[in-house]
């Protein structure tokens, strides 16, 4: 029997048990990779912003390209009003991207493959966007649920559907990222297990499959981070520019 492909998602304590009241906030492998991702982002971008030369070196170019990439993404989807939220969306995109990418290294832990992490991020975005919407438009923000140009007869139904779709945003946002990461890693683990169980004779096929999947997963890791960030931008756009 090959290894259980879900073992990789196990969270375990590193070091002593830390408790605040009855809450266990011990440092775990998940915490470790959150810290590692955060440090990696901070180190890379700190190096990339340290000195400004007319001809940027590689790391500066990386930092500046990321900056313009996210900045363009925000201005394209949410317009110029979203500028104050640039830093948040940039951090969000980088955090998710680095967590996903660190998960691609063998024997590491993928932070974003845990529903609780993605759900907390999505819930924070959902609550934040809703608060921003109400601050900007007052109760006029509720017009979001009443699309214009809809026949009066259909209106009650549409409003209900809109409210449900709005409330399901954090769930769809978090589950999308979590499920993608979990499915990809599980699949790679399963194929990795096949390599072992089929041995030197038949193991080459799942091995090549595993290699191809690694490429695909790296793409997915980037894409999911991008989707997460761009959906945040779209939600933000709804809150900032009420166009219904």
């Amino acid at each position: 029997m090959a290894a259980n492909p879900m073992t990789q998602f196990e969270v375990y304590r590193i070091g002593p048990e830390i408790k605040i009241g009855s809450f266990d906030i011990s440092f775990t492998n998940a915490s470790l990779f959150m810290v590692v991702s955060t440090l990696a982002i901070l180190i890379i971008f700190n190096l990339g912003s340290k000195k400004n030369s007319m001809l940027p070196n590689k790391i500066q170019l990386l930092a500046e390209l990321s900056y313009t990439f996210v900045s363009k993404m925000i201005s394209d989807t949410a317009g110029s009003k979203a500028k104050p939220y640039f830093a948040f969306i940039f951090s969000l995109f980088m955090f998710v991207l680095f967590c996903n990418m660190f998960g691609m290294i063998p024997y590491t832990f993928t932070v974003t493959s845990h529903i609780i992490v993605t759900f907390i991020l999505a819930a924070f975005i959902f609550i934040g966007v809703t608060i921003i919407g109400f601050i900007k438009h007052g109760f006029g923000y509720l017009k979001l649920f009443v699309p214009s140009g809809v026949p009066v007869v259909l209106l009650p139904l549409i409003v209900v559907i809109e409210i449900i779709s709005y409330l399901s945003r954090p769930i769809s946002l978090s589950v999308r990222l979590f499920a993608n990461m979990m499915a990809g890693h599980t699949m790679m683990k399963v194929f990795g297990g096949f390599v072992i169980s089929l041995g030197i004779v038949g193991g080459w096929l799942p091995l090549s499959f595993s290699v191809a999947l690694t490429g695909l997963e790296i793409l997915v890791a980037f894409l999911q981070a991008y989707v997460f960030a761009i959906l945040t931008c779209i939600y933000l756009n709804d809150a900032l520019n009420l166009h219904h």
Partner: protein, 196 residues
């Protein structure tokens, strides 16, 4: 603990199996709430730190760098544009100067030619006048000579003939008779001798 975990991973759980989690959470460790609070805490902490450091320290720097580069590039483009315009105007100026100097050279050439021609003409006229004068003078002299020549010849003829006669005859002969004869002869044959 870590050592054990890595050991398990390396050997793909072939030799040691771990059966703790599976029974509890139906195979999905994600749904095991044991470390949820811990994950939420650490996520908030790390993401919070990340957000604060990025937004307060790093992103403004990157933004400033980009702005600076953009403005510098803009400046350089403007300077290049200005220099291009300058060089174009200089080229125009240069061409104008060339055209001007060419026409000037032509003018100078023309002027000099005219002047020289005038000079030559003037000198020629003067020379011609001088030549004419000389010729006239010479002609006058010749005419005078022509006028005076027969008389002188007659005189000489008279003197010579009287001398000859004196030597021949040994006596003085009256000059007037000889001159009469010479005059007579010269009147008869004058045209023959002097060709006029």
């Amino acid at each position: 603990m870590i050592k054990k975990y890595f050991f398990q991973l390396i050997f793909f759980n072939l030799f040691i199996s771990r059966e703790v989690f599976a029974a509890e959470s139906g195979g999905m460790p994600q749904l095991n709430p044991e470390f949820w609070i811990s994950q939420i805490f650490w996520l908030t902490l790390t993401f919070g730190i990340l957000y604060v450091v990025l937004s307060k320290l790093i992103l403004p720097k990157i933004s400033a760098n980009l702005e600076l580069r953009k403005s510098q590039i803009q400046e350089n483009i403007e300077a290049a544009e200005k220099q291009r315009k300058d060089s174009e105007s200089k080229l125009k100026e240069y061409e104008e100067i060339i055209i001007k100097s060419k026409s000037e050279a032509k003018d100078i050439f023309k002027e000099t030619r005219e002047k020289t021609i005038k000079d030559i003409n003037l000198k020629r006229e003067v020379l011609e006048k001088q030549i004419d004068e000389e010729i006239n003078k010479a002609e006058k002299e010749i005419n005078e000579l022509k006028k005076t020549a027969p008389e002188k010849i007659n005189q000489i003829a008279i003197e010579t003939s009287s001398e000859i006669l004196k030597n021949l005859m040994g006596t003085e002969i009256n000059n007037s008779s000889i001159s009469a004869i010479v005059k007579d002869l010269s009147k008869k044959n004058g045209d023959k001798f002097y060709g006029n």
